[in-house]
Amino acid sequence: MTDTPSPSVTIDHLRIALPEGADRPYAVDRVDFRLYPGKVLCVVGESGSGKSMSANALMGLLPEGVRVADGRIRLGDTDILAQDEEGMRGLRGRRMAMIFQEPMSALNPLMKIADQIAEVFEAHNLLRPAERRARALELLTEVGLPDPARAAASYPHQLSGGQRQRVVIAMALALEPEVLVADEPTTALDVTTQAQILELIRRLQVDHNMAVMFITHDFGVVAEIADHVAVMQLGRVVEEGPADTVLRNPQHAYTRKLIDAIPKLGAGRAEAPERPPLLTVEGVSKTYHLGGGLFAKSRKVEAVRDISVTLGRGETLGIVGESGSGKSSLGRCLVRLQDVSAGRIAIDGQDMTRLQGAELRALRRRVQMIFQDPFASLNPRIRVGRAIADGPIAYGTPVATAMAEAEALLERVGLPGTARRFPHEFSGGQRQRIGIARALALKPEVIVADEAVSALDVSIQAQVLDLLDELKRELGLSLIFITHDLRVAAQICDRVMVMQKGACVELGPGAQIFDAPAHAYTRSLIDAIPGRDWDQSAA
């Protein structure tokens, strides 16, 4: 091959010290990275691995209290760590740029888009005001915004998440930097938007011959975009190498564990046997009326439109869709956290959409829910044993019995002897186990899991999914699994319903949905799954 070009960025023996009292002394401990022009280095790891800290250190944007303790960072011939703030200011934006995880909060809500882009030139005293605006418009065109002129004159809240991320990318490109640092830039986006943004970054990086440091937790994304991969665990690089090698032939046990934990698309279930119906949903719609008042007309939003589906006894039904598809609204209707606007939901033939009071309570315990956010789903002031027992107690179980049952449940989900602890003493994955125990406390027949593993790291996610699967078999539960993650749905669901804009676009056995999608939208969703080719070649 050709001779290796000299690296744009050299990071040697970097060590980043955390403030006193942190869980470990170094966020990053003696790591080395090389960034080459025209190449993407993916730094991949779970939360707390120190991957973002490395990126921030390169930009000189470490949080307060965190500092580089040792090592060297060079940008070309420039020693980054020797620069004062003024020196760094000259480099940021001009020679290296950064894009962030949260497009929603990365832009100043009070400034027009064009002004925020023009600021990049202003910061480095380049161009005249009129030229800056013209360049801003060109940049917005280059990052593929549908109506650049309108976007330029907009405020951030008038754009969607994907559009905002394009704006942030446009700002990063403005001065043609040698290095682009991307910190989880697609994590907050829907899967189809994510695919577009990944493609955009890839294209721009080739066009401008930039060196890219791409931080992610998602091996699928790595497979899409990386030339080179570094796997981080607890502040150290445990494995690194060319993307193909690391993805197909991982050497380190931790890398193998991470890759194994990813739900495989090809692992879909075989055709499920015919099952007796348990929960019947007939023509359910949910319409919200937003705003309104003396001088404003209220806005009508059809969150769920005419959904009909039957859940068989012992079946796992997946509900899949992007944000705003109405999948969560439907889930909340199923457990009567909100009332339907039309249609009926029946369990064992008994309609629960119109029930009130005692009848509703009697029926409600048969359908329980597991929530998305492990930090918001437990009352911080109530001990976890009591939180689990509260349900049975409300249904008249004596307190002592309920508490004993709660302890048994905690043991069953792998947390024995923890009933007297408070939620803040548990990790995210453990809390999600407690949430499962709470849902089981009322001995339900149906469990609705709303994005129940989305907030978890991939290895924890795999454990929680396994636990759910075990419990389901053991207790003969039926499961409705709401998720945006097609990989997860493919792995655990017997049947899958795909939702878009409140309506069901496709419903069928998992294998059929993933192998032979009938609807164009389903196909676009599946095509957008990052790392799909890697999956197929690995299978």
């Binding site: 990365a106 832009l107 100043n108 400034m111 003396l294 001088f295």
Partner: protein, 322 residues
């Protein structure tokens, strides 16, 4: 914007109407004869006069008739007659209103301007001695009784140092005109406006400081730093503009306190505004005037609220859109 203003105007009228009804209820809940309450001390002597009041306000009629009589009077701008001062209450208030407006608007501007400035400085020097000093002084002003601060200011700046006039609105019978008169009023304004402003300044310092530090942690500030912008530009353009929003909200909420504070300040400095009028009405048990001032001061608060609402909409595009 027009629709917003229209909505606000309707709301203001409704609130004023409700306050009028409240006033009416207060008169009737007071112990004793409502006519006596309305006449104040002046009524004690003259039974004929009380009888006249009773017919005028229908005090011998059913409740709702009385209510309507009262409300319609107020709606016509008739706040009753001050038998003490031998003058309609509305005339009395209109005479005094300019002084109160000058005082409260000056104090409002002063407290907001200086408060935000000091808050920004404190946030920028976070943890250093100048921050501690600003925060400590703000805390002290925040805990000082307004009327006492006013008295001590008189003691220090007028009595001891003789720098500024202690009482009144202008030099009586000085025959000054034009600029000279304005300057004279301004000299008289310094002490009352500053003491009134200092208390509120203290609150704005604290909230501005906290808000600046809060916004400094938001993602878009990091974006701005990643662009290579100068710290001073980041603070001014990105942080301050966002940090000022809660200050504006608070300033609106404080309008009521500002008007209440003006009552105390005008009392101490013999500033001839409606606050001083309220004090005089209290002294002479002139309830008609007292309640009239109450309605007008509420209207003043609504006006301040309207101003801060408009300010907020100018700064924040998200509100304009919805």
């Amino acid at each position: 914007m027009l629709r917003f203003l229209l909505g606000r105007l309707v709301k203001i009228v409704l609130i004023l109407l409700a306050i009028t009804v409240l006033n009416f209820c207060l008169i009737h809940m007071a112990p004793g004869d409502p006519a006596l309450v309305m006449a104040g001390e002046a009524g004690d002597a003259d039974p004929k006069f009380l009888a006249q009041l009773r017919t005028q306000f229908g005090l011998d009629q059913p409740f709702y008739v009385q209510l309507w009589a009262y409300v319609s009077h107020v709606l016509m701008g008739d706040l009753g007659y001050s038998y003490r001062q031998q003058m309609p209450v509305s005339t009395l208030i209109l005479q005094r209103l300019p002084a109160t407006l000058i005082l409260s608007i000056t104090a409002f501007a002063l407290s907001l301007g200086l408060g935000v400035l000091a808050g920004v400085v404190a946030a920028a020097r976070q943890g250093r001695w100048s921050d501690s000093l600003i925060s400590a002084v703000a805390l002290l002003f925040y805990a000082t009784p307004l009327f006492w601060m006013a008295l001590m200011a008189v003691l220090l700046f007028s009595v001891q140092l003789d720098w500024l006039p202690a009482f009144g609105y202008e030099q009586a019978a000085s025959g000054l005109h034009g600029l000279a008169r304005a300057f004279d009023i301004a000299r008289h304004l310094v002490l009352p406006a500053t003491t009134l402003g200092l208390f509120f300044m203290a609150t704005y310092v604290r909230i501005t400081r906290a808000s600046m530090l809060e916004v400094n942690r938001l993602d878009f500030v990091k974006t701005a730093r990643a662009k290579g912008l100068k710290p001073s530009v980041i603070q001014r353009r990105h942080v301050l503009r966002n940090a000022i929003l809660p200050v504006v909200t608070l300033a609106g909420l404080h309008a009521g306190q500002l008007v209440g504070g003006a009552v105390l300040i005008e009392t101490v400095f013999a500033w001839p505004g409606i606050g001083r009028l309220m004090f005089e009405a209290l002294q002479s048990r002139d309830y008609n005037t007292l309640l009239g001032v109450f309605v007008v001061s509420s209207a003043l608060v609504l006006l301040f609220n309207l101003i801060t609402d408009i300010l907020y909409r100018i700064v924040d595009p998200r509100i304009r859109a919805s």
